[in-house]
C-alpha cells in the first residue's frame, strides 16, 4: 500500500512562528501588541503551548534591577562574557543585559506571579556566576517564581497571546522550510491530529523551536526537544553555529534526568563510585565535590568510562552515587527538601538512608541557527535570509558563547523575543503579501520514503544506540578517536534508519512516523555536533577535548557548519563580536579575551 | 493477612477501597450524599401521599396497619440511615463550603459513629415504644434551634456571589439539619404519635404544629427539588432537555406541595 502525500490546504498569514515556547510567545505577544490586526500563527509539537519545554525551567532569570545599588548591568555583561569563555557576541550581550529589567517588568505587569520580598517587591536570589565588581563577591540578581519560573513565563506569554488573538496549531510539525533566493516564505506543516499536510505562507517566519537534548541518553530536556529547527535549517542549506557547544549538568538523576541541584554537593554530599570510594579527591584534591560544574562532570564521566560506575538495570544507564546519608536530618529537611523529594518520587530512594544514582545530564544547547543581533537568520556567507528569524534555544545570536550561565537562557527568550518582534513588525509593514511562488517538494519524497521502507529494525533501538554513543563519546569528554567512532556509528545508524519500516499506516496521530522523522533530525544534529567538535582542537567552555585540554586563541571564532547531504559538511567561521571591548568604554579591558577562572 | 481473612473479600468493601484510592473518601461521601438525597426525596413523595389519606381517618388507619408489621418497621428503621447520613454529611458540607471549615476529614471520621448512635437510640425508642413528650415543647426547642442555625447560615452566606436559589437551598439544609432527624425521632417515641390517625389529627389541629409542618414541607420539597434539578444539570448537556427536566420536576413538586398544604391546613 502506498500513501500519497499532498498538501491539503494553503494558508496565508503575516507571521508564522515555528514553536510556542517562551521565546515564541514573547515574540508573538510583542508583534500583536504593536500590530493588533496581524495574523500570527504559532506551531507546537506538543498538545498545547503550555506543555512546551520552557515550562520546566525552575531557577530564575537574571536581570539587574536599576534600583539595586550593589549591582550593575556592566557586571551582568561581564559575568556573561566571562561565562561564555569569551565566545559570546558582545553586541548581543549588551543588548540583552540592558533590556533585561524592562522585560521583567513587562512580565510582572502582565500578571506573572513572581515571588516577593517582605516589602512586596520582586525577590531576588543569587546563582553561580552572578558577581559584583567583576567577580569580587556574589550578588542577588535572579528574579524567580518559586521553583517554576519557566512556567510563570509560559502562563503569562500564553495568556497575552491568547488575549490578542493568536492562532495556535498544536501537535503539528514544521517539516519543510520554504526557502528560495535567500528569501523565506513559510513552511510545510504536518498536522498530527488530522493526519494532514498543509502549507503555510507567511511574510515572516520565525524559528523558536527550542533545544536538542534528546541527542543524549540522559537529558533534562523534554521528549520533543529533538533539534528539529536545526535539522530544518541544515536541510535548507543554512548553517548551524557552534553545535559543539553543549552544556551538561554534572548531577542529573538517573532515569528521568532531572536536575539534582548543586546544593547537594555544597551541603556536603559525597560522590562515590562502584567500590563506594569518594573519587573526587583524585580529580580535585583541594576542592573535591565543590570543584566547578564541568570538572565534576568530567570526573564522574571518567569514573564511568573506566568501569567504576554502576549500571542501573532499569534504565540501562551507568552512573555513580551521591551519598547524602551522613547529613543530619535537619539538612535533609531544611536545605534540600525538593531534591530529596525528587529522589523519592522518581527513583523511590530515601536519601537519608540510601545512596542516590546520578550522572552528568545534558542540559542546554548553546549552539544554534546563526542570527545577527536582531534575530535575522544568516547563511554561510553571513548574509541575512529575508523573512526568516530565529530566537530562543534553537538560535545562536550568540548570547551564551560556549557556556551558558544559569538563568541567562530564559532571559534571552524574553529579551530577544521582543527585539526580534520589533524587527518583524517593521518587515511585515513593508511586505505586501506572503510569497506564493515557493514550491514544495521535499516533504512528500521524504515521507513516502519513510512509509515505503521495509526493513526490520526498531526505531527505538536505533534511537537508543545513537543516544548512548553520543553520551559515551561526544558528551562531557571528547577525543579525536571517540568522535570518529561516533561518526562511524551515526553513518551506520542513518543507513539502518533509512530502511526501517513503519507499522502504523494511518497518518492521524501516527507517533511512529513522527519518531521516524525526529530520528533523522537527531542524527543530523548529532552529526554536526560531532563534526564541529572534531574540528575544534581546543577546549572551550562546555566543549572539552581530552586531547587538547586548553583554550587556544587560534580558535577565537564561532564554528559555522552546513550539511545538506548527511555526513558531508561544509565548515566556516564567524568572528566573535567584541564591540564592547572595542568601544573602549568604562572598564572595557574586562571584555578582552580573559581567562575563565573562578 | 495472617488470619487468611480479609475484609477486601467482601465485594462492596473492595469497591469502596478502590474508589478511596482513586478518588478519596470525600468523593465516596459525595456519592453517598447524592444517593441518600434521591432516596429521601422519593420517600417524602410517598410519605405525603400516604399522609394525604388522613382526610379519611379510617382509610389511613387501614393503610398504616400494613406498615406496623415487623418488616416494614425494620425498613422504617433503616430509613434512618439515609436520613442521618444525609443530615450529618450535609452539615459537614455546609461547614466546609460556608463556614470555611477545612478540618472536615475529622468530621467524616466521626460520621459513622454519630450515625450509629442515632440509629441505636432510634431503635431503642422504637422497641420501647412508650415515651411521652409534649409536641409543643419538643418542637419549640427544635424549631428555635433550627431557626437559629439557619440565621447563622444566612448571615454567613449573605456576601457570597452565588445565586439566591442556591443560597436558599443551603439555608433550607441548615434548617433541616436538626428538623429531619428530630422529626423521625419524635415520630418513634411512641407508635401512636406516628401512626394513629386520631393522635396525629389531634396534634395537627394545633396552629403551631401546623406551622411547623408547613415549614418542614416547604423546606424539604424546595431543598429536594433543587437538589434533583442540579443533579440533572450535571449530566444533561442539552439546554432544552435541561429546561424540560426542570419544568417536570417543578410541576411534580408543586403538586406535592399542594396536597401537603391542603392536608395540613384543612385538617
Amino acid at each position: 500500500m502506498s500513501t500519497t502525500f499532498k498538501i491539503q490546504t494553503t494558508t496565508h498569514c503575516d507571521v508564522l512562528i515555528i514553536g510556542a515556547g517562551g521565546a515564541a510567545l514573547r515574540c508573538a505577544a510583542e508583534i500583536l501588541e504593536k500590530t493588533p490586526d496581524a495574523d500570527v500563527i504559532a506551531l507546537t509539537k506538543v498538545s498545547h503551548p503550555q506543555k512546551s519545554h520552557t515550562s520546566t525551567a525552575q531557577g530564575g532569570l537574571a536581570a539587574v534591577d536599576p534600583k539595586d545599588p550593589l549591582d550593575s548591568t556592566l557586571f551582568h555583561m561581564f559575568d556573561t562574557w566571562k561565562g561564555s569563555d569569551c565566545t559570546a557576541d558582545q553586541n548581543v550581550v549588551k543588548k540583552i543585559c540592558e533590556s533585561a529589567w524592562e522585560q521583567i517588568l513587562w512580565l510582572e505587569n502582565r500578571g506573572m506571579h513572581f515571588s516577593r520580598d517582605p516589602q512586596g517587591q520582586l525577590s531576588k536570589r543569587t546563582f553561580g556566576g552572578h558577581t559584583r565588581n567583576f567577580g569580587e563577591t556574589s550578588v542577588h540578581r535572579a528574579v524567580f517564581e518559586a521553583d517554576r519560573t519557566g512556567k510563570g513565563i509560559m502562563d503569562t506569554g500564553w495568556g497575552e497571546t491568547l488575549k490578542r488573538g493568536i492562532t495556535f496549531i498544536n501537535q503539528c510539525l514544521a517539516v519543510e522550510l520554504l526557502i528560495k533566493d535567500k528569501q523565506c516564505g513559510g513552511c510545510v506543516v504536518y498536522k498530527q491530529k488530522e493526519g494532514e499536510f498543509i502549507r503555510i505562507l507567511a511574510k515572516a517566519t520565525i524559528f523558536a523551536s527550542g533545544g536538542s537534548g534528546q541527542v543524549f541518553q540522559v537529558t533534562t530536556n523534554c521528549r520533543q526537544n529533538t533539534g528539529d529547527g536545526l535539522a530544518l535549517a541544515l536541510e535548507s542549506g543554512l548553517p548551524v553555529m557552534d553545535p559543539e557547544a553543549v552544556q551538561f549538568h554534572p548531577t542529573g538523576i538517573v532515569g528521568p534526568g532531572i536536575l539534582a541541584s548543586e546544593t547537594l554537593r555544597s551541603v556536603g554530599g559525597i560522590l562515590r563510585n562502584q567500590a563506594l570510594e569518594p573519587f573526587m579527591i583524585n580529580y580535585a584534591p583541594k576542592m573535591k565535590e565543590l570543584a566547578p560544574r564541568d570538572m565534576v562532570a568530567r570526573a564522574i564521566e571518567s569514573e564511568i568510562r573506566e568501569g567504576r560506575g554502576i549500571l542501573n538495570p532499569d534504565h540501562n544507564i551507568p552512573h555513580v552515587w551521591i551519598d547524602l546519608r551522613h547529613l543530619p536530618d535537619e539538612v535533609h529537611e531544611k536545605q534540600i527538601p525538593e531534591v530529596s523529594s525528587f529522589f523519592k518520587r522518581y527513583v523511590n530512594l530515601d536519601p537519608k538512608k540510601e545512596l542516590c544514582p546520578v550522572r552528568p545530564s545534558n542540559h542546554y544547547h548553546m549552539g544554534g541557527i546563526p542570527t545577527n543581533e536582531f534575530g535575522e537568520v544568516q547563511n554561510e556567507q553571513q548574509e541575512t535570509i529575508a523573512g526568516l528569524y530565529a530566537v530562543g534555544e534553537c538560535a545562536a545570536a550568540s548570547f551564551h558563547g560556549f557556556n551558558r550561565l544559569g538563568t541567562n537562557s530564559i532571559l534571552e527568550l524574553i529579551t530577544m523575543g521582543k527585539l526580534v518582534a520589533e524587527r518583524v513588525v517593521e518587515h511585515i509593514k513593508d511586505e505586501p503579501k506572503s510569497r506564493l511562488d515557493i514550491g514544495v517538494d521535499q516533504f512528500a519524497k521524504r515521507f513516502s520514503r519513510y512509509m515505503g521502507a521495509t526493513g526490520g529494525d526498531s526505531l527505538g533501538e536505533l534511537r537508543n544506540k545513537m543516544r548512548s554513543v553520543m553520551t559515551e563519546k561526544v558528551s562531557v569528554f571528547r577525543t579525536e578517536t571517540g568522535i570518529k567512532d561516533a561518526i562511524e556509528t551515526l553513518n551506520e545508524l542513518k543507513e539502518r534508519a533509512d530502511n526501517t519500516a513503519i507499522a502504523g499506516r494511518g497518518l492521524a496521530m501516527n507517533q511512529e512516523l513522527v519518531q521516524r522523522w525526529e530520528l533523522d533530525n537527531l542524527l543530523a544534529v548529532s552529526m554536526v555536533i560531532c563534526l564541529a567538535a572534531l574540528d575544534r582542537k581546543e577546549s572551550r567552555g562546555a566543549h572539552f577535548r581530552d586531547d587538547y585540554p586548553v583554550r587556544k586563541d587560534d580558535f577565537n571564532y564561532h564554528t559555522l557548519i552546513s550539511m545538506v547531504e548527511f555526513g558531508t559538511p561544509e565548515l566556516g567561521r564567524r568572528e566573535v563580536d567584541m564591540s564592547v571591548f572595542k568601544a573602549g568604554g568604562e572598564r572595557y579591558e574586562m571584555f578582552d579575551i580573559i581567562e575563565r577562572k573562578y | 493477612m495472617a488470619t487468611g481473612f480479609s475484609l477486601t473479600k467482601i465485594p462492596g468493601v473492595r469497591f469502596l477501597q478502590t474508589k478511596s484510592r482513586t478518588r478519596g473518601w470525600p468523593y465516596i461521601a459525595s456519592w453517598a450524599h447524592r444517593i441518600s438525597g434521591v432516596m429521601l426525596i422519593l420517600y417524602v413523595l410517598l410519605h405525603i401521599l400516604t399522609l394525604s389519606a388522613l382526610k379519611n381517618p379510617d382509610d389511613f388507619d387501614n393503610k398504616i396497619k400494613f406498615y406496623a408489621s415487623i418488616l416494614p418497621v425494620f425498613l422504617e428503621w433503616l430509613l434512618a440511615v439515609p436520613v442521618i447520613y444525609h443530615a450529618l454529611n450535609g452539615g459537614r458540607l455546609i461547614l466546609y463550603e460556608i463556614f470555611g471549615n477545612r478540618q472536615d476529614n475529622l468530621i467524616l471520621q466521626w460520621l459513622p459513629g454519630i450515625s450509629a448512635t442515632y440509629m441505636l437510640l432510634l431503635g431503642i425508642f422504637m422497641v420501647m415504644g412508650n415515651q411521652a413528650v409534649s409536641a409543643i415543647l419538643f418542637w419549640t426547642y427544635i424549631a428555635a434551634a433550627s431557626v437559629f442555625i439557619s440565621y447563622l447560615t444566612v448571615m454567613k452566606i449573605r456576601h457570597s456571589g452565588a445565586s439566591k436559589l442556591w443560597k436558599m437551598q443551603r439555608i433550607s439544609a441548615a434548617f433541616l439539619f436538626l428538623m429531619i432527624p428530630a422529626h423521625m425521632l419524635y415520630m418513634h417515641l411512641d407508635p401512636s404519635i406516628g401512626r394513629d390517625s386520631s393522635v396525629i389529627i389531634a396534634r395537627m389541629n394545633n396552629n403551631f404544629i401546623k406551622l411547623i409542618d408547613l415549614m418542614l414541607l416547604i423546606s424539604v420539597l424546595y431543598h429536594g427539588a433543587y437538589g434533583i434539578i442540579e443533579i440533572s444539570r450535571d449530566y444533561v448537556s442539552s439546554h432544552r432537555v435541561q429546561a424540560a427536566c426542570t419544568a417536570t420536576i417543578m410541576l411534580i413538586v408543586a403538586f406535592f406541595v399542594w396536597i401537603g398544604m391542603k392536608l395540613t391546613v384543612l385538617i
Binding site: 498538545s47 519545554h53 513572581f114 516577593r116 491568547l162 527505538g460 | 470555611g100
Partner: protein
C-alpha cells in the same frame, strides 16, 4: 527486594482510521523504578510501535502525560512501577485515556478541546491596575500572594477534571475555576466581574459538590476544593 516485576497492561486503544476501539493486553518485564512512561516507551521499542501516548517534560511539570491507571487519573511520568504495584496491590493495570475530551488515538486525547474551558475564563490580566510611577512593578505583599499562590501552580493536566463527580461536559472544571479564581484574587487585575460571572454561571460553582476528588488526585497537591469553596462562601 524484587528487582523486576512481570506486569500486565490492559490498554484501551482506539484507531481513528477504522474507528475501532479495543483493549490490548501487553505483558512485559519492568524494572522497579521504571515509570509508566518508560514502560510505554519500552512497549513502543520492543513490542508494538503503533501504541500512541503523550508526554513532554517527563518530570511532572507540564501535564501532558495524564491518563487513568486502574481508574486513577495521574501523571504517568511520576508513577514508578514499584509504587504502582504497592499502591494498587496488583501487577495488572488498566490504562485508559483521560475522559475529559475526545480520544485522538489510543491514549492521546484532544487537549485543545479540554482547554476550551480554560480559555473561557480568560486566563490573563484584562485590565491591570495602573502604577503611579511608570515602569514599576506592582507591590504585592507575600501574605496576599500566599493566599492564592497555590492556585497559580496548576499545570492543566486535567486529572482533576477527570476525577470530578460532576460531568465533564457541563462544568468548567476544577482547573478552569482555579484559573478564574487566580485573577479574582490577584490584586493587579481590575476586571473581576467577568470572572465572577463565570464562577457563578450555571457551569460554575453549582456543578461542584465539594467531593474533593480534585484535591485528592491533583499531582501538584493543590487543594483545589478549598479554592472553589472560597468562591461559594464569597471569601475570595
Amino acid at each position: 527486594m524484587t528487582s523486576t516485576y512481570d506486569i500486565t497492561l490492559n490498554v484501551h486503544r482506539y484507531d481513528p482510521d477504522k474507528e475501532r476501539k479495543w483493549i490490548q493486553t501487553y505483558q512485559l518485564e519492568a524494572g522497579r523504578i521504571m515509570r509508566f512512561v518508560d514502560v510505554l516507551r519500552k512497549i513502543n521499542d520492543t513490542d508494538d510501535s503503533t501504541l500512541a501516548w503523550g508526554s513532554s517534560c517527563e518530570h511532572g511539570q507540564c501535564g501532558t502525560c495524564s491518563m487513568k491507571i486502574n481508574g486513577k487519573p495521574l501523571l504517568s511520568c511520576e508513577l514508578l512501577v514499584e509504587n504502582a504495584v504497592k499502591y494498587f496491590g496488583t501487577t495488572t493495570f488498566t490504562v485508559e485515556p483521560l475522559d475529559v475530551a475526545p480520544v485522538v488515538r489510543d491514549l492521546v486525547v484532544d487537549t485543545e478541546k479540554a482547554y476550551e474551558r480554560i480559555d473561557r475564563v480568560k486566563p490573563y490580566i484584562i485590565n491591570p491596575v495602573l502604577q503611579d510611577e511608570d515602569e514599576m512593578e506592582h507591590q504585592i505583599s507575600p501574605e496576599t500572594l500566599e493566599r492564592y499562590v497555590d492556585a497559580t501552580r496548576c499545570i492543566n493536566c486535567f486529572c482533576c477534571v477527570s476525577a470530578c463527580i460532576s460531568s465533564h461536559e457541563n462544568f468548567l472544571g476544577p482547573n478552569a475555576m482555579l484559573a478564574a479564581i487566580v485573577r479574582i484574587m490577584d490584586p493587579r487585575e481590575q476586571e473581576k466581574q467577568e470572572r465572577l460571572d463565570c464562577l457563578y454561571s450555571a457551569d460554575g460553582v453549582y456543578r461542584c459538590h465539594s467531593s474533593q476528588a480534585c484535591s485528592f488526585v491533583c499531582p501538584k497537591e493543590i487543594d483545589v476544593a478549598h479554592f472553589i469553596a472560597l468562591a461559594k462562601e464569597g471569601a475570595l
